[in-house]
Amino acid sequence: MSETAMPAALDDPNRVGHHGAEATGYGAGGPAPKRVVTAYGFWLFLLSDFVVFSAFFATYAVLAKATAGGPQARQLFNLTNVGVETACLLASSFACGMASIAASVRSQLWTQICLLVTGLLGFAFVALEVSEFARMNAEGAGPARSAFLSAFFSLVGLHGLHVSVGLLWLGTMMAQILAKGFRPTMMRRLLCFTLFWHALDIIWVALFTTVYLMGAG
């Protein structure tokens, strides 16, 4: 039915949003393709995850000086160790980017290699963080010592928990890509995983700055 032939009854009662026969509005040409829908939903999830982190960041900011006579940030942080952690995480993100390139040319071998490197570097990050936590705990600077340390352990630990869960996801996905190949569902999941992995980098940059750099200074 063309625009000119359209009867008055089909018209908009308030003449709102009516711009001729062309579909108006973003996404108005019907439902978006699955890839867009999945990625969009996952972006929203990442935003909600950022909100969780923001609550912990705010808490840390409030409690950063509440050391209750216990150790302060300056005495605890070892910037060399944290620098190595950061390098691992950023390199892991680079490897993850390489994996998505390899997947886009459907190279099973290189995808698996890159994902493996991603995972190993991520694991190194978690291992370094856990050893750091263990050291602090052994020195009597555990999370139960003061409100500052509670906030520190939960903010940094929450990020570490995300990386660990990401590793679990990564392992499962590697097995799946090996078993099922590059079907559309797998490509969508890989897309989501890379979004997740890079988002954790963004969090880490903020965390590195506010917790470690500002704390050590």
Binding site: N14, V16, G27, Y40, G41, V51, L63, A147
Partner: protein
């Protein structure tokens, strides 16, 4: 082996919870045995429990909400009768039990009644109004529902095994810290809300993606029904606010389980931070609940006035303005904390500003009715009842937003009266309006109008009898949550409030009767055309109940009231749009992932509450295994053949064609 769990957890020495939990177990067992004996189990499993159809999930949310409403109402009437009795005496409820009852009442009513009903309506209606076949992530939708059900189950388990929290519906520390609440009550609260909160977040993500990315061709933003707009605003608030709840409750859990010091009195903890954080979630939560109710009223008022909604654009702007402002007012929940005059003034003014877009909405509804052909059917009665009641509640809200007045009235029954005034007046009335309005769409027959109207009047009058006295008694100085009292002037008001609760009970009884009578007489009240109310939006374009795929072909939207335009054209020309070419439709396959995940979530939650660590590990492994099995599936869709689509749609067309000659519009 079983952590803190032992026979001492069962309240053998307290007759009231023992009898209540005994009754509850008997009812559940009775239902299970009846379902089993009738051979309904395979049907329920196939068609409902594992269903990923948004309509089925929406109905299940509403059923959950209504069952929980009964539970929450029993708590309410126990509190009212306790306060009616406990003048210069101890009443019949001991303090520690009374405290659990008001905590459970608030928690259940907000999280498992209001949330469940609102999300249920959105689930059912959204894809139909948007002219599409399902939500963006159907299996995630099922997981979200079952996690909510899991939270509800844990809360109700606390009645039988152990105890519930005694510190109100929000667990303010330091009272909720381990030192002052060593029992499992707070843990029940925290884990139930963590689990159901994750479910709610999933639902919010799902709805926003659906509304922004999955709409029928031509359905631009400014053509979406207002209910879709309010659902969008509400879901955006879920995404922005529920993560804060999760984070805050996680901090309290860390305090309780691992000796952290977020909110403790010692080692630098800051209890006031909890109050800030919880209300950063808590205030938007109010709008998460009420905005969809506003959407329901917009649909109902417009339909039953036979007019397009007055001021559609201003309605959309007002909705989004409320969405934004709702994040700028959280501090008005604790003016008395002592943040200082400047801070209090800012939040006081911000709170009053919310009355502006809300007032815009009220006037829009009134102007929609003005000059309309009004049909006073029960959905519209709920809407009018809402407009009157909510305006009063809004005015007492503006009063409470004045910091000096709040210093006098805070923590009194005046406040309790205020928030019941807005939540019952808007959310509950809205849920009932939506329930009556969309019931024929969901089940194919209408509800009994006579009983529906009687139920409305009981609720309406009962509400005023139950809560207006609380304003008065609050002004007389009675604080909330009192187990007993000695002031003689309060007593008459509390007796009236008790009588009001009984009138509301009659309303609930009439609603149950309405459902039973309507089901029994369903053959006489069939909705054959799929458009029982002369509706205006796309959900009325399909059959009642809609087929699994909702629409045989996605509607081509050409105006703001998509269905009204098509209908008017058909009536004018006495001719329906030509039969389309039917194609096979791919629909998502049912999946037990949701219910299995919720099973493991319940196991994990229960064992965390009772410190049964090996079972925690087992539950988590089970949840991960469920995830892997789901991710490994090869076929996630099934095909409805073109002939089946054609058969169903031709039946719908025939039914509509049959009534077409009888429809004519007064000019």
């Amino acid at each position: 082996m079983l952590g803190k769990l032992s026979w001492a957890a069962i309240p053998f020495d307290q007759p009231i919870p023992l009898i209540a939990s005994g009754m509850m177990i008997l009812v559940i067992l009775g239902v299970i045995v009846w379902v089993w004996a009738k051979g309904y189990v395979p049907y329920l499993w196939r068609e409902w429990i594992t269903s990923v159809d948004h309509k089925r999930i929406g109905v299940m949310y509403c059923i959950l909400g209504m069952v929980m409403l009964l539970r929450g109402f029993i708590d309410a009437i126990m509190m009212r009768s306790q306060q009616a009795l406990a003048f210069q005496s101890n009443g019949y409820l001991p303090p520690e039990h009374y405290n659990q009852i008001f905590s459970a009442h608030g928690t259940i009513m907000i999280f498992f009644v209001a949330m469940a009903l609102v999300i249920g309506l959105m689930n059912f209606v959204l894809p139909l109004q948007l002219g599409v076949r399902d939500v963006a992530f159907p299996t995630l939708n099922s997981v979200g529902f079952w996690l909510t059900a899991s939270g509800a189950l844990l809360i109700n388990m606390s009645l039988v095994v152990g105890e519930f929290a005694r510190n109100g519906w929000l667990p303010y520390p330091p009272l909720s810290e381990l030192r002052y609440s060593p029992g499992v009550g707070v843990d029940y609260y925290l884990w139930a809300l963590q689990i159901s909160g994750v479910g709610t977040l999933m639902t919010g993500l799902n709805f926003v993606t659906t509304i922004l990315k999955i709409r029928a061709p031509g359905m631009s933003y400014m053509r979406m029904p207002v209910f879709c707009w309010t659902a969008l605003a509400s879901s955006l608030l879920i995404i922005a606010a529920f993560p804060v709840l999760t984070a805050t409750l996680a901090m309290l859990l860390l305090d309780r389980y691992l000796g952290f010091h977020f909110f403790t009195n010692d080692a630098g903890g800051n209890a006031m931070m909890f109050v800030n954080l919880i209300w950063v979630w808590g205030h938007p939560e109010v709008y998460i609940l009420v905005l969809p109710a506003f959407g329901v009223f917009s649909e109902v008022v417009s339909t039953f006035s036979g007019k397009p909604l007055f001021g559609y654009r201003s309605m959309v702007i007002a909705t989004m303005a409320i969405c934004l402002l709702s994040f700028l007012v959280w501090l008005h929940h604790f003016f008395t904390m002592g943040a200082g005059a400047d801070v209090n003034a800012f939040f006081g003014i911000a709170s009053m500003i919310i009355a502006v877009p809300t007032g815009v909405k009220i006037f829009n509804w009134l102007f929609t009715m003005y000059g309309g052909r009004i049909r006073f059917e029960s959905p519209l009665l709920w809407a009018i009842g809402f407009m009157v009641t909510f305006t009063i509640g809004g005015m007492t809200g503006v009063l409470l937003a004045v910091p000096p007045a709040d210093f006098v009235l805070h923590n009194s029954l005046f406040l309790v009266a205020h928030f019941h005034n807005v939540i019952i007046g808007a959310v509950v009335f809205g849920a009932f309006a939506g329930y009556t309005y969309w019931f024929p769409k969901a089940f194919g027959f209408t509800l009994d109008e006579r009983l529906g109207k009687a139920a409305f009047w009981c609720w309406f009058i009962g509400f005023y009898m139950a809560f207006m006295p609380l304003y008065a008694v609050g002004l007389l100085g009675m604080t909330r949550r009192m187990q007993h009292y000695d002031v003689a002037e309060w007593r008459p008001w509390l007796l009236v409030a008790m009588a009001g609760a009984v009138v509301i009970l009659c309303g609930i009884g009439l609603q149950i009767a309405q459902l039973v009578v309507s089901i029994r007489t369903r053959e006489e009240r069939r909705d054959l055309t799929g458009d029982p109310w002369d509706g205006r939006s796309l959900e009325w374009a399909t059959a009642s109940p809609p087929p699994a795929f909702n629409f045989a072909v996605l509607p081509d939207v050409r105006g703001q009231e998509a269905y009204w335009g098509i209908k008017e054209h058909a009536i004018e020309t006495q001719h329906m749009v030509d039969e389309p070419e039917y194609r096979a439709i791919e629909m998502p396959r049912n999946s037990p992932t949701g219910v299995v995940t919720a099973f493991f979530a319940t196991v994990t939650g229960f064992s965390l509450i009772w410190h049964i660590w090996w079972l925690v590990a087992l539950g988590l492994v089970g949840a991960f295994a469920t995830f892997v099995v789901f991710a490994w599936r090869d076929v996630d869709e099934y095909e409805i053949p073109a002939e089946e689509v054609a058969r169903l749609d031709r039946a719908r067309r025939a039914a509509r064609l049959a009534v077409l000659p009888s429809l004519s519009r007064p000019t």
